[in-house]
Subunit: 350 residues, 2 copies
């Protein structure tokens, strides 16, 4: 079955209830049934099969640990769903620490009335990504809240990754002159969500870019080691906000060339229609990489070999000209200060 351009191929097994009720959050018999018939069935592995309060495993080395709660609305959107997003999001956060994701926890807060079939589809998507990248869902928790006290489902994923031995990712490693590369088109996720929100419909079909970017970031670290200075995925608040955080913490400036920032024509025109600047629109499947300028071209070439980053481009550099500021050199030769996103552009984008 296809929904919003996403294929669901794993048929739901027979379950003896079709809607989530408060009882499914009781911790008692119904919770047990729900877990046995969905989560434990789908994610069976040596850790989750223990059904204990937590998972136990051995770990030796440098670890990355990250958490993210997802409240995106609608829960199914063009190109993905809240399940995809929760897996990719936390895995990307780990990747941005220079790590390979290994274990993920799954915390569900369900509003009573959610169809079990919807839940199953979200879990199926999570499982698909888990299989694809060898990331195990090892522990979890399920709560149910009354109708009107939640909104269908919120998902928290927390993750543990193994930091690559060659990784030297850190904002303090960034030097003036370093190049800023971007792996792909901005504003795609935000505009895809906006396209299905009430009252807004564009003529073109935009799909969210939700995806795992860690294979490419890992490849960059393998190839270039400490010349990859910094990684970050510009999600909520968009490219401009993320780079403002960098500039501010680093006490350097970020200078960007507007003409070099990749954006799909349909996102650009949708932004124009709505009076939005794409640099503030949320992304889910791209990342910023700050590199030693000497390897900049090579790094771009490497990134362009992968389908998820074939639009990879140089977009600007680190300078000392305007401490703590992000400067945009516009297409028509002007320059302006890009502040952080002020206010709220689109609530519940992720």
């Amino acid at each position: 079955m296809e929904i919003n351009g996403v294929e669901y191929t794993c048929p739901m097994p027979e379950v003896d209830f079709d809607t989530i009720t408060l009882g499914h959050g009781s911790g008692g018999l119904l919770t047990n049934k729900l877990l046995e018939q969905t989560i434990f069935r789908l994610f069976s592995n040596e850790h989750i099969d223990q059904q204990h309060d937590g998972a136990v495993f051995s770990f030796h080395g440098k670890m990355a640990f990250s958490t993210d709660s997802f409240v995106v609305s609608p829960i199914f959107f063009p190109g993905g769903n809240i399940g995809d997003l929760a897996m990719n999001g936390t895995m990307n956060d780990l990747a941005m620490c220079g790590a390979i994701p290994k274990y993920v926890s799954l915390g569900l807060i369900i509003e009573e009335g959610l169809k079990v079939e919807s839940l199953w589809k979200l879990l199926e998507s999570i499982k698909r990504i888990s299989n694809l990248y060898g990331v195990q869902v090892v522990t979890g928790d399920t709560k149910v809240v009354e109708r009107g006290k939640g909104d269908k489902i919120f998902i928290n994923t927390s993750g543990i990754g193994e930091v690559k031995s060659k990784a030297r990712i850190g904002i303090n490693n960034i030097k003036p002159g370093d190049h800023i590369l971007l792996s792909g088109n901005i504003a795609t996720h935000g505009m895809a969500i906006m396209s299905v929100r009430e009252g807004l419909e564009f003529e073109t079909s935009l799909q969210s870019d939700t995806q795992y970017v860690g294979e490419v970031s890992a490849m960059l670290i393998d190839e270039f080691g400490d010349r990859i200075r910094f990684l970050r995925d510009p999600t909520r608040g968009g490219l401009a906000t993320t780079l403002n955080e960098v500039a501010s913490k680093l006490e350097r400036s970020v200078e960007l060339d507007e003409a070099l920032i990749p954006v799909l024509p349909q996102s650009a025109s949708a932004c124009e229609l709505l009076g939005l600047d794409p640099v503030y629109v949320a992304n889910e499947g791209i990342f910023i990489v700050v590199v030693d300028p000497e390897i900049s071209l090579e790094a771009i070439k490497l990134m362009q070999q992968y389908s998820i980053s074939k639009q990879a481009a140089y977009i600007g550099k680190i300078t000392t000209n305007y401490p703590k500021k992000v400067i945009m050199n516009s297409r028509i030769g002007g320059r302006r200060v890009l502040s952080m996103l002020i206010g709220e552009q689109l609530p519940r984008i992720c």
Copy 2:
């Protein structure tokens, strides 16, 4: 300031907003302000100060990893709040794996309109527990949802702990004849919450038992090693549900003596009033320990030396008489099968 028997002593610093708005979840300037003025200020440590997508640290050995989302209502209740509960809950889950909690992540889902002062009090409680037990909050995430799409605040905590080298906790280590000990009174948390829910007021004042139990479980492991077979905290679903999970997975029976199960008189009478069986009522500050019968008495004595477990008692044993069943020997000499909790007794208890 005291609320519901809990002291709040850490004054809120000057903040320039008094209510959480959707903008605080934008990922932009307001999110930044909220974090700078509350979370980063309160939890400052080498990891969270990085303000990266995740925390990075070294780990060598056996690790426990656990997650829990908390949706308790009301968020301030007699004897605690959702912040206390979220810290103690995940730390207890790690302790039940035989681990010492080390690092915690904090995922907040806030409904717009929450007072910053309430948020500060919750964070203060989290920080107090963090200090008390040396557990660092190292990474986090904050989302805001529209009014009527959440309920004040939901908190996810995920945690990482170091499994004690002498720990051999596992359901498969349980043998017929093993004793079941309980660290304290049952039904206290559930009845404390019920006492403040709309329309229900008891004459006596009950306080939640939310607390960290891991110091005592760690001491038991240090002292008795593999003779401590299994640990579990009976939260949602109560003692009866937790022991049913044990009996069912173990394919043995659990036989309990009703007269030996500790319960506060005021909880017992409140349960009677409401027609509830205290064995199904949620707990937050007690744990079940299954031990080799040879060390049972010694273990109880050890537990009784600690204030959190001075009511520790033998409550029953593992037998082969009624596979997969929990049997209650009643005060008046009868015996009955205790099933898991069926339906929902009290939604959003944790």
